[in-house]
Symmetry: C2
Subunit: 390 residues, 2 copies
């Protein structure tokens, strides 16, 4: 009776929408999700978002989005966990359904970054770092990731070229995804010759800045999920088998180990345990590749590659079509885009569609079990969600 299912999903295309407000994007995604759930109206709303206070001058965000989506009055709140806000919101929303506080819950993510100077956006995103121990000294968020990438490259003897295959493949996958911000292929030469942002990270090693919103609708109980699937003519259900959230220090200076994301190790093991699976059982994965380095760390720390070997295996062609797991066919944060607090929800929307077989982009090979990994900061937060087709 207390099994939880994803019964509806919706998302907007990701882009720089100077002519569309954040609330407009969110309403589009939520109404799509309601349609996809056979018209089922959510009774609560949890919203993942990082920067609305700074970039939209808007608090009270969740009530605002509920009201504008026709859900005035429902329990609603915003969850902030930096770039991991979407995943954390899903965790909180899953809890609302599981506890019985609400039997139909919408979990959405929204980020509206454009309409601001790039310097302002860069500063807002750097607030994922420790204000007193890191930001105060002028480091940017890309700068922090660059330090980790440099350390990893030195430790395991990789070159920029070795790492460049991440972006190459992400752009290829994104070229099939109608929702992607950068739906176009690229070349190794373009990646390598792109301008430096924070050495060793060049422009094409980093995810872009974009706006977007994504929503999932969760229900409690197999019967309800079956009824909706029937209405929608779908012959499969997508069950949430595992949901785990773990944290680490914010400032990198007090981490035990910069070559692994300890929160990802912890959250993935807990989510697998909850789902009764091992890493090797997972068919499809969406990982948080805000930078190539975080993509590679995710593969290692989720248990798909030995430490230090993910870039090598990736360059050799692993994790592509027909492999286990298949990874980031959405195009990842790198090319699908990274509307910060919405990203974790995009991953769940995309994985749900891959399990159902109706993802409108590069298709996974009939997966049965999928996992998503969404981080905040440089692994300050990780949410891992395990979904199963039943």
């Amino acid at each position: 009776m207390d099994k939880v299912y994803v019964v509806g999903v919706g998302m907007t295309k990701i882009g720089r929408f100077y002519d569309r407000s954040g609330r407009e994007l969110f309403v589009e995604a939520l109404l799509k999700a309601i349609d996809d759930a056979g018209g089922l109206k959510p009774k609560a709303l949890v919203v993942g978002n990082m920067t609305s206070s700074v970039l939209m001058e808007q608090d009270s965000l969740a009530a605002l989005l509920a009201d504008h989506s026709g859900l005035r009055g429902v329990p609603a709140f915003k969850v902030e966990a930096a770039c991991g806000s979407g995943g954390a919101a899903f965790y909180a929303g899953y809890s609302l359904v599981k506890s019985g506080l609400a039997d139909v819950v919408a979990v959405g993510g929204l980020e509206k970054l454009t309409e601001n100077l790039t310097s302002v956006v860069t500063k807002a995103l750097a607030q994922a770092a420790d204000a007193e121990h890191e930001l105060f000294y002028g480091v940017s968020f890309t700068g922090l990731n660059a330090m980790v990438a440099r350390l990893y490259m030195n430790k395991f003897n990789y070159t920029r070229e070795d790492f460049a295959y991440w972006a190459l493949r992400m752009h290829e996958y994104a070229s099939y995804n109608p929702y992607a911000q950068l739906p176009r292929k690229t070349t190794l030469e373009t990646i390598l010759k792109s301008p430096v942002v924070a050495d060793p990270l060049h422009l094409f090693d980093c995810s872009p800045i974009g706006d977007g919103a994504a929503v999932t609708i969760l229900v409690r109980g197999e019967e309800k999920a079956k009824e909706i699937a029937k209405t929608m003519g779908r012959d499969v259900l997508v069950e949430v088998k595992g949901a785990a959230l773990a944290t680490d220090s914010v400032d990198l200076g007090s981490r035990n180990n910069l070559l692994a994301l300890e929160s990802t190790i912890k959250a993935s093991r807990e989510a697998y345990k909850m789902a009764g699976i091992k890493a090797k059982d997972i068919d499809y994965v969406e990982v948080h590749d805000a930078f190539h380095i975080t993509g590679y760390l995710a593969l290692e720390d989720m248990g798909f590659a030995p430490k230090g070997e993910a870039p090598k295996l990736w360059r050799e062609g692993r994790f592509g079509k027909g492999d286990k797991p298949e990874v980031n066919f959405s195009g990842g944060l790198k090319a699908r885009g990274h509307p910060v607090g919405a990203t974790g929800v995009y991953q769940i929307v995309e994985s749900t569609m891959q399990l159902r077989g109706d993802f409108p982009g590069y298709k996974a090979s009939d997966p049965e079990i999928a996992a998503t990994q969404n981080i905040g900061g440089v692994g300050t937060y990780t949410t891992v969600t395990v979904l199963k087709r039943t």
Copy 2:
């Protein structure tokens, strides 16, 4: 088995702490709560906060506070629901315990407003309003409440003097509260002659700006709660009998009725139903009197006074010592203080102590059932929590 109990509480004094950081205040409150729970270590943390992104330049707030409190690694996220963030965080934390995702959860609230220019703080707080439909036109949050107060006074024929009795009594209660920001009595004359902020609201009709942190620790299961009570030498338990969150539009212009807080009506009725009680069963209440008007509306909309009569009944002496319910013996937001996202948690800490009989200020008359009401915006959010001594 799935009953939920408040087993530990902690709070800081509220004030303008130019020499203490937000993280320092939070750690103090959390460690006090752990001590009060017999040393029990929380396995998850939910933090209510409104303005950290703008006034502390800090996102990733919950992981940061977990780490600094010795809880590195636990699931943690921040909840934003404007001034109602603390209550909403409690609702989310209650859900984590109830769902079984964590069996010991700390719910804290933190706000650090000082160290910023007053104009900056005023702007940050105004972000509780609708950025596009209200804030854009230059209205302050006090301005919005002033409009509601004026409408209410005109509709029900009240004068500023009629309303002034709220602050008078709050200051008296706060004079006994060692945690209060303004622990001193005042006079009707002082209230009436205080400078205007936004007509008809004068300085003494408004809650002050202050810093503070409060934490509660929740556990699942009567046995565990009894064990902790025994360790601490307490002969009563405090059970969470009801927890409900409701919302309304953000912008006042699209409300159905400005003379009532519809979210409070909805949340209180749901919380009472969940607890199996009626309004008349409640012995003690903490309401959200950010301004006198919101205090009076709370009393009416929670079912303690007929519409339009709360200020009259209050002036006649109702809701004081020996009455049912007794209201805001902490001194309320008006004089205990209003560290925005922490306020809803302060209310639960204080009510828990009143039920246990160890509140160190003005004491309630041996209450058995208590309720707290925490709003965000001008009633955009309301969380109502019902606690029972067992």
